[in-house]
C-alpha cells in the first residue's frame, strides 16, 4: 500500500510502518476537526454495524434452538456475564452492559483492524486512554459512593506491619494512578506493534529474494495478531472487572 508506493517512488527500502495509523478525512483534504468524517469515523461506524449485526440481527429470531450467529451472540453474552459475576462479584452485574459495551467495541475494533487496508481505531492512544479513563473514573466514583471513606482502605494494607503501611500506601496510591496508563498503553501498544511489524515485513517483500520469507512472516504475524486481537480485548475487560471488584470490595 502506501509503503510500497513510497518504496517504488524512492527506489529503495523505505519503511513507513506507521502510515497506516494516520487519521485522514474521507472527503476533501482539510484539517481534522471534531466532526470531520475521517477513517476513524468510518471504522467506528463499521464496528457499530458489526455489533448490531451480531447482537441484534443475529438474535432477532429469539430462537430457543439458536442459529450460528445467535450462538455466537449468546456465547459473547455468557462469556462476559460470567466474567463480571466471577471476577467482580454478583453485585457487579449492574455494570454488565457497560463492560459488555467495552468488550464488544474493543474486540470488533481489533478484528476489523485486521482487515487489510482498514484502520484500527484501538491502535490510537486517544481511543484507549479514553476507554481506560472511563473505567478509572467509574471505578473511583463507584468505590467512594459504595464504601465512602472506607474505599481509602484499599491503600492502607492492614495486614502489613504498621511501620511499613505508610510506605505501602504510597506505593498502592501510585499503582492505583498508574492503572489507567498501563490499561490504555497495553491495548494500543499491542495492537499498534503487531500492525507495524506486519508493515515492516511487507516492506521487505519488495525485495524479490526475501519476499517468500516475508510472506511467511506476515502470515505468521497475522495469526499471532488474530490471537492478540482477542486476548487484548479479553485482558482489557477482565482488568476492568478486577478494578471494579476493588471498588466494590476494597478490603485486601
Amino acid at each position: 500500500m502506501a509503503t510500497e508506493a513510497h518504496g517504488s517512488e524512492e527506489g529503495g527500502l523505505v519503511f513507513h510502518p506507521m502510515d497506516q495509523f494516520i487519521v485522514k478525512p474521507l472527503f476533501g483534504d482539510g484539517p481534522v476537526s471534531f466532526f470531520t468524517i475521517t477513517n476513524v469515523t468510518l471504522w467506528m461506524a463499521v464496528a457499530i454495524v458489526a455489533v448490531v449485526v451480531l447482537m441484534v440481527l443475529g438474535t432477532s429470531r429469539r430462537a430457543v434452538i439458536p442459529s450460528r450467529t445467535q450462538s455466537v451472540a449468546e456465547l459473547a453474552y455468557g462469556f462476559i456475564y460470567k466474567m463480571v459475576e466471577d471476577v467482580a462479584g454478583k453485585d457487579a452485574v449492574g455494570f454488565f452492559p457497560y463492560i459488555m459495551t467495552l468488550f464488544m467495541f474493543i474486540v470488533f475494533a481489533n478484528f476489523l483492524g485486521l482487515i487489510p487496508m482498514s484502520f484500527t481505531t484501538t491502535s490510537h492512544f486517544a481511543v484507549t486512554v479514553v476507554l481506560a479513563l472511563l473505567v478509572f473514573v467509574t471505578v473511583t466514583i463507584v468505590g467512594f459512593v459504595k464504601n465512602g471513606a472506607k474505599f481509602l482502605g484499599l491503600f492502607w494494607v492492614s495486614s502489613a506491619p504498621l511501620a511499613l503501611r505508610p510506605i505501602l500506601a504510597v506505593i498502592e496510591l501510585i499503582s492505583y494512578f498508574v492503572r489507567p496508563v498501563s490499561h490504555s498503553i497495553r491495548l494500543a501498544g499491542n495492537v499498534m506493534a503487531g500492525h507495524a511489524v506486519i508493515k515492516v515485513f511487507a516492506g521487505f517483500a519488495a525485495i524479490a529474494v526475501v519476499s517468500p520469507v516475508s510472506v511467511v512472516a506476515i502470515t505468521a504475524m497475522y495469526g499471532l495478531e488474530v490471537l492478540v486481537a482477542f486476548i487484548q480485548a479479553y485482558v482489557f475487560t477482565i482488568l476492568t472487572c478486577v478494578y471494579l471488584k476493588d471498588a466494590l470490595h476494597p478490603s485486601h
Partner: protein, 178 residues
C-alpha cells in the same frame, strides 16, 4: 493512496515519520467519535440486545426444565403402567390357580363319589356272590350227604346187613364232620 498519504505527511509535517498516535491535533476528533460509538453501542446493547439474549437464555432454561419435568412425569407414568400390568398379571395368575384348584376339587369330589359308588356296588356284588357260593356249597354238602347216605345204605344192603336208616345217617354225619 500514495498521494493522499503524502498529503497527510505534508499536513503533519515533522510529526509524519513519528507516531501518528502522538499527533494530539486529532485527539479531540477521535475522542468525540469514540464517545458517540460507545454511547450508540451501549444503548443498542442495554436496550435491545442484552435483554433479548437474557430472555432467550431464560426461555431456553425454562424449556429445558419443563422438558425434564415432562420426561420425569412420563417416566412415573411408565412405572405406574408397569405396576398395573404386573398386578393384572398376578391377579390373572391367582385367578387361574383358583380355577385350577376348584376344578381339581370338583373332579376329586366326582371321583370320590364314583369310587364310593363303585366300591358299594362291588361290595354288594361280592356279598351276593358269596351268598350264592355258600348256598351252592351248602347245596353241595347236602347232596354229598344224601349221596353218601344212599351209597352207604346200598353198600350195607349189598353186604347183607340190614341197614338201619338212622344209624347210617348218623355214621355218615360222623364221617362228614371228620
Amino acid at each position: 493512496m500514495a498521494t493522499e498519504t503524502q498529503a497527510a505527511d505534508a499536513a503533519h509535517g515533522a510529526s509524519a515519520p513519528g507516531m501518528p498516535q502522538l499527533d494530539f491535533s486529532n485527539w479531540g476528533h477521535q475522542i468525540f467519535w469514540l464517545l458517540v460509538t460507545l454511547v450508540v453501542i451501549y444503548f443498542v446493547l442495554s436496550r435491545i440486545a442484552l435483554p433479548r439474549i437474557a430472555a432467550v437464555l431464560a426461555e431456553r432454561q425454562g424449556t429445558i426444565t419443563n422438558d425434564i419435568a415432562a420426561a420425569e412425569d412420563l417416566k412415573a407414568k411408565a412405572v405406574e403402567a408397569e405396576e398395573a400390568y404386573n398386578k393384572a398379571l398376578a391377579d390373572a395368575r391367582a385367578e387361574a390357580q383358583r380355577i385350577i384348584a376348584e376344578a381339581k376339587a370338583e373332579i376329586q369330589a366326582d371321583l370320590d363319589a364314583a369310587t364310593a359308588k363303585a366300591d358299594a356296588e362291588i361290595a354288594a356284588k361280592t356279598a351276593e356272590s358269596e351268598k350264592r357260593i355258600s348256598e351252592i356249597r351248602a347245596g353241595a354238602m347236602q347232596s354229598v350227604e344224601e349221596v353218601a347216605r344212599d351209597t352207604a345204605a346200598e353198600i350195607v344192603a349189598a353186604m347183607g346187613g340190614k341197614a338201619d336208616a338212622k344209624t347210617v345217617a348218623a355214621a355218615v354225619a360222623e364221617r362228614m364232620k371228620g
